[in-house]
Structure formats: C-alpha cells, structure tokens
C-alpha cells in the first residue's frame, strides 16, 4: 500500500466537522471506562476511605454530636445521615486529585502527548478528559450511596435521581481543580504536596463533617473560611439534591469555581505558555 492511496480525513469528512469532536469525546470516555473497569482496585480504594469514615468515625460521633434541624433536613437526623453528602464529596475530591495525578503520570509517560497532538482544540480535549474522569467519579459516588443504603442510611428515592446532576457538577468542579494542579505540578513526586496543601484543607475546612453553624460555635473566622471553600458548596449542593431540593448559592459557587478552575487550567495547558514542555 502506498501512503497516498487513500484520501485524507478532511477530504472524507468535508473539513473538521462537529462530529470529529464527538467521535473524540466518545473515544476518551470509552477509554476511561475501560481503564476504570480494568483497574478494579481503583473502585475498591475509592470506596474504602469514605466507608471507614462512615462505619467508624460517624458511628463514634453519633452520640457526641447533636445536630439541630437545618435545611434541607426537616427532622432530627443521625450523624451518619449528615456525613454522607460530605463523604460523597470526599470521593469526588480524591477522584479529582487522582485524575490530576494520572494526568501528570500521562504527561511523564507520554500518552498525554498523544491526546494533545490530536487535531482538535486543546480546550475541548481537556474538557473531554475532565468529563470522562468526572463520570467515573459519579459511578464511585453511587456505589458508595448504594453501600450506605444497604447499611440503612437511605435518602428519598427521588433524591438519588436529583443528586446525579449535582454530583456530576461537583465532580467537574473538583476535576477542573485537578486539571489546574496538573498543569502546574512539575513532577509526579511533587504530588504529595497536593495531599497536604489541597485535599486535607479543602476537606476539613468545609461542611463535610460539621455544619457551618457548629463550626461558628468554635470560631466565626473558621466558619467564614469554610464558607469561602468551594468544596463546602459542592457538598451542600449534593446534600440538598439528595432531598430533591435546590441550593442556588451552592450551585452558583460550584459553577463559578468550575469555570475559574477550568479557565486557569486551559491557560496552564496553552502551548504558548510552554508548561507542557517539561520533559519526563
């Protein structure tokens, strides 16, 4: 066969059609799903962490922590009920950072180059990658909710449906943060710093474990800090959605954080900035 024997792609498709973008999106989603299925340990690891918090930490705190009735709750709830949205957020947060780690790894191993040299806008390629990682996070979150339901921590059935867009939005926001970090992390070994300076402060300075009014009892400044944390709003968005209720502030902050993180990540991956130039 000669290399000139076939027409080029452009001749076949009449240019860079919209469908090219969708074909690439489907392929990236498919690849991520295959990798996810192939790495069963990843699902187990993602679930063990929040389950330990639920079965051990929350069980121990049940007696110690009294919770007032605040929206979206209409009655007294156990601490396990309270903590579940925060633990869903924990799954999404770790998944976002895991995606970031895998992007840095891919960059060092070279497969990121393959993606970035595809003839598509770079922002689209990054978005596809972000969406793929986020959808896997949603699967993990629902697996956790299913185990929690088996344990007896249940939400209204319609809440499980209403939570899907909220969980995906939160996953996209945290994935965008991971994408942003991956564009600035120079080496894989620098990733440990992310754990210390991003994951832990983000998780503990949020409403994941305690409501903000409870935090204010300890320190109003701490409460303010938590209120500024986009992770708090992601957790609240999920908490309200699990009762099929909206929380506009939480939605607005989560979306705004997604847009900001996403734009900075795209800027970080801009070829003119040369950040992808780092050699393995």
């Amino acid at each position: 066969m000669t290399v000139e024997a076939f027409p080029s792609i452009e001749e076949e498709t009449g240019g860079f059609l919209h469908s090219h973008s969708l074909v690439a999106l489907r392929a990236i989603l498919h690849r991520e799903a295959l990798r996810f299925i192939g790495q069963r340990g990843r699902l187990v690891a993602a679930l063990v962490r929040p389950l330990v918090w639920l079965f051990v930490f929350a069980a121990g705190f049940r007696a110690a922590l009294g919770l007032a009735i605040t929206p979206p709750y209409q009655t007294y709830i156990t601490y396990e009920i309270y903590i579940v949205p925060g633990l869903v957020g924990m799954i999404l947060l770790f998944n976002g950072m895991q995606s970031s780690l895998s992007l840095v790894y891919d960059r060092e191993m070279g497969s990121m180059r393959l993606l970035l040299t595809a003839p598509l806008p770079r922002w689209w390629l990054l978005f596809c990658r972000l969406l793929a990682g986020s959808l896997m996070a949603v699967v993990q979150a629902y697996a956790f909710l299913a185990i929690a339901a088996l344990y007896g921590i249940r939400f209204p059935w319609f809440g499980y449906l209403a939570a899907a867009p909220a969980i995906l939005t939160a996953a996209m926001m945290l994935g965008a943060l991971g994408l942003l970090l991956s564009s600035f992390i120079r080496r894989l070994e620098n990733f440990a710093g992310v754990m210390n300076f991003v994951i832990f402060p983000m998780f503990f300075l949020s409403s994941a474990l305690y409501p903000l009014w409870k935090m204010a009892e300890a320190s109003p400044h701490l409460r303010d800090l938590c209120a500024l944390n986009p992770f708090t709003h992601a957790v609240e968005l999920i908490r309200f959605a699990l009762y099929a209720k909206g929380n506009l502030t939480a939605l607005a902050v989560t979306l705004a954080a997604f847009v900001i993180f996403g734009l900075v990540a795209i800027w970080g991956y801009d070829p003119a900035r040369g950040l992808t130039a780092r050699k393995a």
């Binding site: 080029s8 860079f16 469908s19 690849r31 393959l114 040299t117 003839p119 003119a272 992808t276 130039a277």
Partner: protein, 237 residues
C-alpha cells in the same frame, strides 16, 4: 509547498538557548534524518513541531499549513512517533489503534478497517485482542508507526524511535520507515545513531541548538559519517 518547513526557530529555556535560528525544509517524499547528540535540541524541536509548545520566534509549516495559524489542519496532516511509548498498556492492541483513530475523527467501520489493515500489514492481526503491555519493544514500535499512519498523514515525525530496541528490530524499523518515504511520505527521523542514516537520505546535523550541516548524507559524510559527525560536533564541544 508540501513537506515540512522550519524557518528561523529560536527558543530559550530560561537563560539557556535551546534552539538558535534553526531552519530547514524537507521535500515531500523524502527521508530526512535529524542527527544530533543528546542535548542537541532534538526533543525541544519535536515539542514545537507537534505543537506541545510554541517557539519564541520562527515559523513551522506542515504540508503547506502554518502550525501557528492553522494548527488543526497542520496536525491532521502529521503523524508522530514519540520517543517514549504512548501506547496504553492496559488497553488491547486494537483498542489503542481505535482510540488514536477517533482522536483524528475516524470511527465505525472505517476506523475498524484501517486498524485491522494496519495490524495485517504488521502480521499482528491475531494479536488484536491482546493487551499492548504484552507486546515486545519492536512490535510496540512498529505498531506505533502503523498507528501514526492511520489517518494517512503527509508528514511523519519520529523522535528517536529505535531507543531501547535490539539491533535486528532497529534495522527492521529503519528499513520500514525508509520504505514509507519511498512511497511518498515525508519523514523526519530524529536520532543520535549514525548507522540509521543512509547515503541518499537528507541529513541535518543539530548540535547545541544550531544546524551544523544540511544536505545529502553522502555529501556531508565524505566517506565516513561517524568521523564527520564526531568532528563536526567535537569542534564545538
């Protein structure tokens, strides 16, 4: 014009000049070896040719398309084999090919047909369902070359594609890519190994970010390319 054109590329890494006014053009259907010792600037140049980052100044055109102004058109006409393997070891051989095809807008039966044809040509059709991690280094490299050609590019860039391969695999892959050039493909082959260059090849010697020689390999070598290469790069060492 078609082929590959690089004009006045300058690039600095901090205070260090990585590429200094690098210019050359490779005509369509020509095998061009980019020969340089480690640290010559080959990988930096490849990063720019593949638009992983842009040069501080200069211009690159692929098959007549300016990489800065028409990046998608230029990238669509380019096939790339990177120095490190970009196969996904967890995916099957065929799935790796289909993934790449999709990134270039090919899907369905067309992608399937091209992927299977590529594997047939490599004599690897029966291994389509195996994980890429099970392939040996030579097969992986040949598969990466076949993958880079799935979208029928006009220009093929290879960054030290024989690194880590045994002598037989190295010779086979070098011969294979020379064949592709003889069939009309423009090839830029970066290497630091002089035995991969043939007398009739176009040769560019890059050292410390500068083009030291540009012409037909036989003319530059004047008999012994190794001695000439060492002399040229040694003069500036």
């Amino acid at each position: 014009m078609g082929g590959l054109r690089v004009e006045g590329i300058n690039h600095d890494w901090g205070t260090r000049r990585a590429l200094d006014n690098v210019s050359f053009a490779v005509e369509p259907g020509r095998f061009c070896a980019l020969l340089g010792p480690n640290g010559a600037g080959k990988s930096t140049l490849f990063g720019m040719l593949t638009r992983l980052f842009t040069p501080h100044s200069g211009r690159i055109a692929v098959a007549g398309h300016d990489l800065a102004r028409e990046p998608r058109a230029a990238l669509a006409r380019m096939g790339v084999v990177f120095q490190t393997s970009t196969l996904d070891p967890d995916l099957t051989v065929k799935r790796n090919l289909l993934y790449f095809a999709a990134l270039h807008g090919l899907s369905g039966r067309e992608a399937e047909t091209r992927a299977m044809a590529a594997l047939d040509r490599l004599g690897m059709a029966e291994r389509a369902g195996e994980k890429a991690s099970k392939l040996n280094g030579g097969h992986r490299r040949r598969m990466e070359i076949a993958r880079a050609l799935l979208h029928r590019p006009k220009v093929l860039l290879l960054d030290e594609p024989t690194v880590g391969l045994d002598a037989a695999s190295r010779a086979a892959i070098t011969a294979h890519v020379h064949d592709l050039a003889s069939q009309g493909l423009t090839v830029l082959w970066a290497t630091h190994l002089v035995d991969e260059v043939r007398a009739k090849d176009r040769l560019i010697i890059l050292h410390r970010g500068q083009v030291l020689a540009d012409g037909e390999a036989g003319d530059i070598a004047g008999g012994d390319l190794t001695s000439r290469f060492l002399a040229l790069t040694g003069e500036r060492a």
